[in-house]
Structure formats: C-alpha cells, structure tokens
C-alpha cells in the first residue's frame, strides 16, 4: 500500500491551515497505521484545512535532525505554531486531538 508523498486538502477560508509532517522509517505496519489514523482524524476535524507531508527517514536520514526526530512514527505540527510533536501510531484519537490543540486536555 503506497503512500502518496503529499496529501493536500483544499484550503478553507475558515480557521487556520494545519501543516503536518509525518516521519516514518519505511512502510512498517506502524507507519501505515499512523498514516491511516492521521488521515481519518484530519478528515473528521480539519476538513479542508490541512496538509500532510510524509517523510521517510530511510530515504532522507539527514532530515531527522532538523525536527529532532527520535521515535517513529512522529507527527509534527509545523503550523500553526508552536511546533507540536505526537509520537506513536496515533491510535488514540483523543490524545492526537489534544496534541494538535484541537481539544483541551481533560
């Protein structure tokens, strides 16, 4: 199951656009799951105002330093600022929403 390098949703006039980066290392079950989860969450909560960039560290190892990537998968919210990081397969939707500041921490 191939990833698309960029999944760009149409810009929305309301709210801020979320610029997201998903770091993976090869197509492992975890990374595929993370991507699936992310896509679902974005469609549900950020419809029309998100952008996902997938970076495979096996292909671009030098990119790991810039965003201080340690764990994979790591989701980085580059915009809106400040930068947020969520690690793991994103299977806990609640936590992902909290991590993205889309929901207030309970």
């Amino acid at each position: 199951m191939p990833f698309s390098e960029h999944v760009t949703a149409t810009q929305s006039s309301e709210g801020q656009t979320y610029s997201l980066r998903l770091y993976v290392a090869g197509q492992t079950p975890k990374s595929v799951l993370a991507f699936t989860n992310l896509k679902r969450i974005c469609e549900q909560h950020l419809l029309g105002r998100y952008q996902i960039e997938i970076i495979d560290l096996l292909e671009n190892p030098q990119l790991a330093r810039g965003d201080q990537i340690l764990a994979v998968p790591t989701l980085v919210r580059r915009l809106p600022e400040p930068i947020k990081k969520i690690i793991g397969d994103l299977s806990n939707t609640e936590r992902v929403l909290v991590g993205l500041d889309l929901r207030v921490r309970q």
């Binding site: 770091y23 096996l58 330093r65 340690l70 994979v72 990081k85 969520i86 690690i87 397969d89 299977s91």
Partner: protein
C-alpha cells in the same frame, strides 16, 4: 567479527543478540586504545573493539570528558573517526566545554573526523499515542556513522531519554536493540550513565552493556575532593581492579596507575653535591646521584629546611635551575630564616635560577596539587626540585591517596632526571610517620635528623639511613648550626664522632632503633 561501516546494512548477523557467547575464548579480545594515560595500562590496551563500554559516575565525575577524550584521541591519534551523540548539551556547549583542553571539535567536524548530533527530547513538547519505536534515533546514528566512516561512537547520556519519553517498556527494549545494533556495526562504543542509588546507573544500563563497565567517582574527604576510576568489569580480559586516582587538568584526563610504576628511569652515574662538604663525604665522597630522590626527615627544628637550603644553594651555584615547593612557610620567611644561618638564596631568586611555589596544602585537593606541581615543573624545567615539607600534603588526603600521588610525582621527576629532595616532618622522636613508610621505598637516599639533650646541652645529629647504589657512612654525626650554615662536627666516615647510639639509649638511639 568487525564489519566495516559500509557493509552492514541489510547484512544478516547470525550472531546478533548472541554476541555475548563469544567471550571467554582463549586469548584476549582486540582492544582500542583510548589514548588516556593510565587507562590504557589498567585495561591492558584500551576498550573492547567493536563493543559497547559503559562509563558511569555521578554528576561532575568526568564521564563526558572521558568519552570525548576517547573520541578526539581516536580521530587524531588512531585514525578512527567518531560520532558523538549528545543528549544533554548541544554542539556549541560541548565544544566550549572541551575547548580549554585544546580539543577543537568544530575543526574535527569540518575535517570529517567527527560527527556530532545533539538529540533533544522535551517531554512537555511530546504527546505519546500508541505504539512507536526509536528507529529515528537509529537512522540518525547510522547516518552520522556513515558520514564520517566512524569506528567510535559515544552516547552521552542516553538515559536522558527516560526523562523525555513516558513508555519505559518501549524504551528498554529499544535500548537493548540499540546496543545490539552498535555491536553489529562493529563500532567501539562508549555509553555514559548517571550513577544511581544502589545501582551503577539510574536506569540499569549495566544490564544491556555488559562487556565493560568503568566507574568514575568523585569523593570528598575532609573537604578535599579526589577523583577515582575503577574498571568494574571487563569481559574476556584481565584488567586492574583497584581504584585509581585520576585527574583532570589542562591536558585532559590522566589516570594514575600506581602499579604501573615501571622501572624505566635512567640511572645516571654523575653526582651532585648536597651543599655540605662533610655530608658529601658521608655519601661516598661525592653527594647524591643526579636524578635520585632524597628524603630528609626529622622532628620539628632539626634542620631539614636548612639542609634543603644548602642543597639549593649549591645547585644554583652550579648554574642549575631549582624549583622549590613550600607547604609551610612563605618564600620570604624561608629566605629570612636561611639568611640567619648564612645561606643567602636571594641572589638566586633574583637571577631566576631559583623559583618558589608556596601554597597552603588545604587550598586544593591532592589531584590539583599534583597538577599544579606538574605544570610548575613543566614550565620551569628545573634540574633540582625541593618539596618542603612533603608531610603537610598528608593533611589533604588519605594515606593511600597521598602515597599514590607521591609515587606519581616522584615517577615523573625521575623520568625527567630531576634530583628531588623531600623533607618530612616527624611528629616526635621515635615516630616514623606513615608517610615515610609509604614513600621510603621510593627514596634513593634517606637522611634522618635528630635532636637530643645531654645535660643542659641540646645536640643535633644526622645520619644516612640509606643511600642506594653507594657506600655510605652509617655513623650518626653531630652537627651545629653556625652563621655559615650547617656544620658537621666530625669528618665523616673515618674520624667521626658518634653522638648517641643504640647502645647508650639516647634519644637518637631511640629514633634509630625505631627506624631499623
């Protein structure tokens, strides 16, 4: 098995995870020199090549410095590029930390001999959700190793990850995988860990890194600190098991492996005068051997410093450079006191032949004293050195520490062919200080000064307890302090006058008896 950096990816390592079973075979494992003086001797050749070694110790114990020295020496001396993965300080901080030691990290990075990667983990910035692994860390490490063709890797301090990530289970299994992976890369790795309560490291890293473990310790005894190093474990190799004092100075780390005092000093045959003609006569007519070490011991006021002053005066008179460490008096006091017995050292200090270094013993720890003395010797390049009194250093360390320090110092002076005189203050007649028994075996010549009283007359006596490699007088000779210095009353050897002796039970006899 030590695969090159280039041929490891994708290559199956049948022994991975079972690498431990290789140990215990006949013959020692290949080792990689650290270039750290002393450590390579204790470990008989360095760290295990292609395997991880754990260095643990408390904060400020010198872990990072030891690790960096290992890397820098690898790059500069052994043509082994290295990778530094740092978890606590960034590149700039690390570089400035070690710049004072002459390590130019940016230059090494530029020359592709070193790759530095700062891994920052901030718990507050990270949300954890679901399963993950630390492949990102592996990717970074692998990338850094390939960039410079690294043979050495330092992880400092990987335990920081435990503070940054919540899932200990994942972390532990990933660390286990990391150390196995490092072995597969064939890199000689050094992993630092913070000392934990009742364990070598807080997170029990010693479970994962089991090939070699080095423990650093920074102890304070009587408000004076001493650093020590111990090789706790070294699989498949013999190693020194003692605690060794080590020091950190302008040249970096050096460990003092006392047992390594190899007998490699030159044994010059030329002699130097003691500055007292009759004492020279007692020493087979010619004085001390050049490059030898002389101990002058006695109770308070017996004339130890005066004997040292004679020695300095004579050496300066021959045009020799003399360095004098004072741990009791200031140079001015010494100059004044010696002038009162007719020894004027002032012209020599004025001409630069004689230099004093006065310090309170309690001012520093032993290691710092040692360092300071080494540096003073290196700077001044003396041929004669006096330490007055060496016993005052006893106050700043334990018996073993002082012994180790003096051994190292004397070793250094002998190697440099410097004639050294150490004075030693005995607390009372008949007492042989522990220092003296500790260092006497290092001494080539031992002169004992003693006082006694006969009637209402106070007498001073001197005898040569030992003097290696020469026929010396065994007589106890009386001397007086005159306005031209210390004057032995009798011609030594032949027409001597014995003052006291074992047989007559005088005070000197008591001293002598105790000594023998």
């Amino acid at each position: 098995m030590s695969p090159g950096v280039d041929d490891v990816i994708g290559q199956e390592q049948p022994t991975s995870g079972a690498g431990d079973s290789h140990q215990g075979r006949a013959g020692e494992l290949p080792k990689s020199l650290t270039g750290i003086r002393g450590l390579d001797e204790i470990t008989r050749g360095g760290l295990p090549t292609g395997r991880p070694t754990l260095v643990c110790g408390g904060p400020g114990s010198g872990k990072t410095l030891l690790a960096l020295t290992f890397l820098v020496n690898g790059a500069l001396q052994f043509d082994e590029p290295g990778v530094l993965m740092t978890f606590e300080e960034n590149e700039g901080e690390i570089a400035s930390d070690v710049a004072s030691l002459g390590f130019d990290l940016p230059e090494l990075v530029k020359a592709q001999k070193l790759a530095v990667d700062y891994v920052r983990v901030e718990r507050s910035e990270i949300e954890e959700t679901g399963e993950y692994d630390l492949e990102g860390l592996f990717v970074r490490l692998d990338h850094a190793i390939r960039t410079v063709g690294a043979r050495r890797v330092v992880l400092d301090t990987i335990e920081s990850l435990f503070a940054g990530l919540k899932n200990d289970t994942i972390l532990r299994s990933e660390l286990r995988r990391l150390f196995r992976w490092l072995k597969e890369q064939g890199v000689t790795a050094l992993i630092t860990g913070e000392r934990g309560d009742g364990a070598l490291t807080r997170q029990g890293l010693e479970e994962y890194v089991s090939d070699a473990v080095i423990l650093l310790d920074h102890r304070v005894h009587d408000q004076v600190s001493t650093r020590r190093l111990r090789v706790v474990k070294y699989r498949g190799s013999h190693h020194g098991t003692n605690e060794y004092p080590f020091l950190i100075d302008a040249d970096g780390i050096s460990v003092l492996p006392v047992s390594s005092l190899a007998l490699r000093h030159k044994a010059p045959l030329d002699r130097v005068s003691s500055g007292v003609a009759r004492l020279d006569e007692m020493l087979s007519g010619e004085g001390y051997y050049r490059g030898s070490t002389i101990l002058v011991s006695g109770t308070a006021g017996t004339g130890k410093t005066s004997l040292a002053a004679h020695f300095l005066d004579a050496a300066c008179g021959r045009g020799e450079r003399c360095l004098c460490f004072l741990f009791e008096e200031s140079p001015q006091q010494l100059l004044r006191n010696m002038r009162s017995i007719g020894i004027d050292l002032e012209p020599w200090t004025a001409s630069g032949l004689l230099q004093f270094h006065a310090d309170r013993p309690s001012r520093y720890g032993l290691e710092t004293h040692l360092v300071t003395m080494h540096q003073a010797v290196a700077d001044f390049q003396p041929t004669v050195t006096v330490i007055d009194p060496v016993t005052n250093l006893m106050t700043v360390g334990t018996y073993t520490d002082v012994q180790a320090m003096l051994t190292r110092l004397i070793d250094h002076l002998k190697t440099a062919n410097i004639t050294a005189m150490l004075t030693s203050l005995m607390p009372g007649p008949g007492d042989i200080e522990r220092t003296e028994t500790a260092i006497s075996s290092l001494m080539d010549t031992w002169i004992v000064l003693a006082n006694d009283q006969v009637g209402n007359r106070h007498r001073r006596g001197l005898y040569v307890l030992k003097s290696r490699g020469m026929a010396h007088s065994n007589e106890l000779c009386e001397f007086v302090m005159t306005n031209h210095g210390l004057d032995l009353l009798a011609g030594a050897g032949t027409t001597h006058r014995v003052v006291g002796g074992v047989e007559n039970g005088s005070a000197e006899g008591g001293v002598r008896h105790a000594v023998l």
